[in-house]
């Protein structure tokens, strides 16, 4: 019994902790997806009775919207993109036996688990769950349902503490525990992305934790930090929130770019185009992400002259990302491309993220943002950035590294069905919402039919809801593939994709300690079809000359 507890529950092994993050994150994704379904059913067919929830009254609707956003960002994206990929791959990719601080790592997961429990508890508080949006703007968040809101804030704060503890490992481990021979610029891109994402998170979250404590005090002790009648300022919260909130977007997006950078070279049998350019672009983007936050607040009532600098930096941040994505596309040029499931998801991530990136321009251009702000155009835009990052980029990584976790590949046919269902129905769900937003439909209203000028777009709301059914049903292929692999007897060798980075040197399912002997590193990652190495088309980092 104690064996079971120490190996699978309170484990210090980074790979077990990674799996705990992954499956907790996927369970929360199920919850987030079901809240999305309730929201979309209410929007398409206002007043409809929903299983278990009954009629969606406005208070419940606001609570669903609030928690859908919070769950997907803090309890799905963060554990999967940081907790799972960072934990599973940082030590393996740099040839280390574990994280620098394994106990802190375990504490990080269990704090995360606690935060998820507190979040779910917040639904059942007297007066119902939090209703003020995932951004929790006061004074709204400081009135109404104090217990639900206070518990929700506590859950968010706990989640941040968890990521802070994990982040210490993500920063120290790659900087101090690399295998002999591995320079910083020999690290796989994914490791860089996790490091930069952790720095961005750690440096931005402080003000928001402080803000959350102040807001909690406004709620519980009736202070007035954000309440104008007590001399406070509601806009202060928005600055604290978005100073964190914008780097947070990149905390989710950078690991997805990292996953794609690992997968593209492997399945085009070609070295990554412009490794150092990609790393430097990432640094630039991370620095810029700290000075763009007020683009969420162009019409918030802050001094309108501030729009110019924040708009300019916002527009500038598109350039490093353009360079990274162009480099990825250049990697494909004259490669020998195959399209197994991880590659399909990676390409899908790039293609669909382009839609999200491009539709950010009319929002960053602050004059057109006067019209687009707080409409469904914004909703569609950020779903096109976050969904491809997590559910295409992240899922690509799950398919790609599943053999390293369980010694088997996920079923290819189910994977292909999962990809096409997800990509097609995702577009089906969210492309109509661009049109809905352009027609002027504001966000977070529970019944668009109350406005006569929105009568023309109601059928698009119905389309979008039908698309969501398809999107959710497509995920059954994913669950089927995972269940199927439990019973699959076909195991793989340690390097099933013929890749070049160190995690593929470790045994198929590495034990605690990862490597039989300490690996040494002889060359950069992604050396495919190298002219000095004719015997096979890949040249792993660990092979001697």
């Amino acid at each position: 019994m104690t064996d079971f507890l120490t190996s699978y529950v309170f484990s210090l092994d980074h790979k077990v902790i990674a799996k705990q993050y992954l499956f907790t994150g996927l369970l929360m994704a199920l919850l987030g997806g079901l809240t999305a379904l309730a929201i979309r059913l209410q929007l398409a067919y206002p007043g409809v009775e929903i299983f278990l929830l009954g009629e969606i009254r406005p208070g419940l609707y606001n609570s669903l919207v609030t928690n859908h956003g919070a769950i997907m960002v803090f309890w799905v994206a963060m554990p999967i993109m940081l907790g799972f990929f960072g934990n599973l791959l940082i030590p393996l990719m740099i040839g280390a036996p574990d994280m620098a601080f394994p106990r802190l790592n375990m504490l990080s997961y269990w704090t995360f688990f606690l935060s998820a429990v507190v979040l779910i508890a917040s639904f059942f508080m007297p007066g119902g769950g939090a209703q003020s949006g995932w951004t929790a703007y006061p004074p709204l968040s400081a009135q109404g349902v104090p217990w639900g809101q206070a518990t929700w804030l506590l859950a968010v704060a706990l989640e941040f503490v968890s990521v802070l503890m994990g982040g210490i490992n993500f920063m120290t481990t790659p900087l101090t525990m690399r295998a002999p021979g591995m320079d910083l610029f020999d690290m796989p891109i994914l490791v860089w992305m996790e490091v930069v994402a952790s720095f961005a998170f750690m440096l931005s979250v402080g003000p928001l934790i402080a803000g959350a404590v102040l807001l909690e005090m406004d709620l519980v002790f009736h202070t007035g930090f954000f309440l104008p009648e007590a001399g406070g300022d509601p806009l202060l919260w928005q600055h604290l929130f978005w100073f964190f909130g914008h780097p947070e977007v990149y905390v989710i997006f950078l690991p997805a770019l990292g996953v794609v950078a690992e997968i593209l070279p492997t399945f085009s049998r070609k070295t990554l185009f412009g490794y150092s350019m990609i790393v430097w672009s990432t640094f630039i983007a991370a620095v810029l992400s700290f000075i763009v936050w007020a683009h969420h607040q162009f019409i918030s009532g802050m001094d309108p002259r501030l729009a110019m600098p924040f708009g300019l930096f916002t527009i500038l941040i598109s350039v490093p990302f353009a360079v990274i994505i162009f480099s990825y596309i250049a990697t494909l040029w004259r490669g020998n491309i195959t399209l197994p499931t991880p590659m399909l998801f990676s390409l899908g991530m790039l293609g669909l993220f382009l839609v999200g990136g491009c539709t950010g321009i009319p929002l960053g251009a602050y004059a057109s943002d006067i019209y687009m702000h707080d409409t469904y155009f914004v909703v569609a835009h950020f779903h096109f950035t976050l969904f491809p990052s997590i559910f295409l980029g992240g899922v690509a990584g799950i398919y790609y590294w599943w053999p390293k976790m369980f010694g088997k590949k996920l079923n290819e046919t189910l994977g292909q069905l999962h990809f096409w269902g997800t990509a097609v129905f995702f577009c089906w769900t969210f492309i109509p919402l661009f049109f809905v937003g352009i027609a002027g439909n504001q966000r977070r209203i529970s019944d668009p039919t109350k406005f006569e000028s929105l009568a023309d777009v109601q059928y698009l709301h119905e389309w979008s809801t039908i698309g969501l059914y398809g999107l959710l049903i497509s995920q059954l292929f994913f669950f089927a593939a995972m269940a199927f692999s439990l019973f699959d007897s076909k195991t793989v060798n340690s390097n099933p994709w013929k890749a070049t980075t160190l995690e593929w040197l470790a045994p198929p399912v590495p034990g605690h300690g990862n490597f039989e002997t300490v690996p040494s590193v002889h060359r950069p990652p992604y050396e495919f079809n190298h002219p000095d190495h004719a015997e096979k088309d890949y040249w792993p980092q660990w092979e001697e000359d």
Binding site: N62, S132, L140, P228, R269, M308, I315, V319, A330, T338
Partner: protein, 225 residues
């Protein structure tokens, strides 16, 4: 896709629409280009089994090779900056500068309605001759209306899609802005910022009168008071 925009009835709405159109074409061009290369490469170089010796080794460690993506990157930067500087003047016109007020109105948002206060014959706010309306904002066509926007409880957002006008209403602050409606008629006012359980029913109407009709309506309000 921009044909989904609602009818446009303010002096500056056309500027915003033209910015949207320019962004649509410029960004659309780059989107199609990038997507074309992405999809094109995948189709073109898919399953070239047996031609492995063709795969070039291009790590792009030299600037001359990096130029393949740095030059398009610089062109993206150029387009971005051009859009940014070009739209700046529209923003300054709408949000930073205010023309001389021909009519003035105080807008107060509260959960979950809009209140409008107009100065009486003395031209001053908060004097005895002020008159008020509820949920209906009456303005004359083709006149510069300066508004003083505030909120009594939480943050709301004054949103008139047909005028391309949106401005948050923040408790504790009075935010000034302006508009000039060009076409008489009735238009919807919405709240664009989540403000509680009534957010989705917080509507109002903008009633743009022809000049004479407005004066008639105004005189009636003054004598009624």
């Amino acid at each position: 896709m921009l044909e989904w925009l609602p009818e446009q009835i303010s002096t500056y709405g056309g500027q915003i629409d033209s910015i949207l159109y320019v962004i649509y074409y410029v960004v659309g061009f780059w989107f199609l280009l990038a997507q074309g290369f992405l999809i094109g490469f995948v189709i073109w170089y898919w399953k070239r089994t047996g031609e492995n010796e063709d795969v070039p080794y291009v790590p792009a460690r030299r600037y001359s090779v990096m130029a393949v993506v740095l030059i398009p990157g610089a062109m993206v930067l150029g387009c971005d900056l051009a859009i940014d500087f070009w739209q700046e003047s529209a923003w300054a016109h709408i949000k930073e500068h205010r023309p001389e007020a021909e009519k003035r109105v105080k807008i107060t948002a509260k959960q979950f309605t809009w209140k409008f206060q107009y100065p009486g014959p003395d031209g001053e706010f908060d004097t005895e001759d002020d008159f008020r309306t509820h949920k209906e904002l009456h303005v004359p066509a083709d006149q510069n209306v300066v508004f003083h926007l505030t909120s009594r409880d939480v943050i709301h957002s004054f949103w008139v899609p047909t005028m391309r006008l949106k401005q948050d209403a923040v408790p504790g602050r009075t935010i000034k802005g302006w508009f000039n409606a060009t076409k008489p008629g009735e238009y919807e006012i919405m709240c664009a910022e989540l403000c509680g359980i009534g957010h989705g029913v917080m509507d109002g109407r903008l009633i743009v009168h022809k000049n004479d009709d407005y004066e008639k309506w105004r005189n009636k309000q003054i004598t009624n008071d």
